[in-house]
Symmetry: C2
Subunit: 195 residues, 2 copies
């Protein structure tokens, strides 16, 4: 028996860009995936992509797959980092001789995904925002974070760039909340309907 995490059909079928130049365009791409994921009922409103930082080469793109894949760990970051590592054939995106890898996510990581980013070998994290908007607008719980989590990443050699296309990301969370979709929070209160 194996555990499998798959991408949605609409994403697998897509011809993705091979390279995306600017940080803003990388985030725009990720935010668009986050919206399509909940609009297609293929997971929560979260997406991520791993790039070669310098060239903008797209290594992997993924989305939240918790409910469709019956896997509470299949947040966008874990899913996407796992696809990137599979594609490159290594558990370490920061291995010797490899180019620096960047993960771009449409919001700050939850406590699990913060750890997943640290262990992935990525050397930079780009997020659209890090305030309480997601929790306030959608009802998702981000879990207990260490004090100064961005500093903890920096200490481990992972640069964090925050507030890239903040308004565009928040607009997706408002649309998600208005849709009445299910919010899954584990022991934080079980599945409940947001909005």
């Amino acid at each position: 028996m194996v555990v499998e995490i798959s991408l949605p059909d609409w994403l697998s079928a897509e011809t993705l860009p091979t390279h995306i130049e600017s940080i803003e365009d990388r985030m725009r791409f990720v935010i668009a995936l986050s919206r399509r994921n909940f609009e297609n009922a293929t997971g929560g409103p979260f997406a991520a992509a791993v790039f070669e930082e310098a060239t903008g080469k797209l290594v992997a793109a993924g989305v939240n797959r918790v409910m469709p894949c019956h896997c509470s760990s299949a947040h966008a970051e874990v899913t996407t980092l796992s696809f990137a590592q599979k594609r490159l054939g290594t558990h370490d995106l920061g291995g010797t001789g490899m180019p620096a890898h960047q993960i771009v996510v449409n919001w700050r990581p939850c406590t699990m995904c913060m750890g997943a980013v640290i262990w992935s070998g990525a050397t930079s994290l780009v997020i659209a925002g890090s305030d309480d908007s997601v929790e306030r607008i959608t009802g998702f719980d981000e879990g207990p974070m260490p004090h100064d989590w961005q500093g903890e990443l920096e200490k481990r050699g992972i640069r964090v760039t925050d507030n890239v296309l903040y308004d565009e990301a928040v607009a997706v969370f408002h649309a998600f909340a208005a849709s009445g979709a299910v919010v899954y929070n584990g022991r934080g209160g079980g599945a409940k309907t947001s909005g």
Copy 2:
């Protein structure tokens, strides 16, 4: 394309117990798997098992699979919770009408796995220990944890039982360190040889 996490052949081939009664015997089972995993070179010295808490029915057993599966998120807890969820066909081990589920692990979770336990729906966590033994003996980094992480789990309805067969668990870490096996720490310093 799908991401796959598999169990080692020696574990897949095994006829596992259907039920394990006491907490100590559940931990003894898990510690034995943690030792066999590194001795067979099928992953790090970490294992976990998910049980129906009241009956002791074994739902899933798993081990660290980071390096063999090219997946930095495939720690013992993430792997085992994912197998349990796959077996039960749900992302939520705490769903309505389900029995309470317990995860037993041979040491305290890292920052990622602490989050994974919270999102899993498990209602109790049993660990062999939570001090700095693993980091001190093996060189593994556990990552930045929130203040009073056990309290954070309790607040979310997850009971934590600590120090179950502490000495037996630590003995495995000493054996692992003496073996000269590779320790993977992501940006904490890259793969290095312990001991």
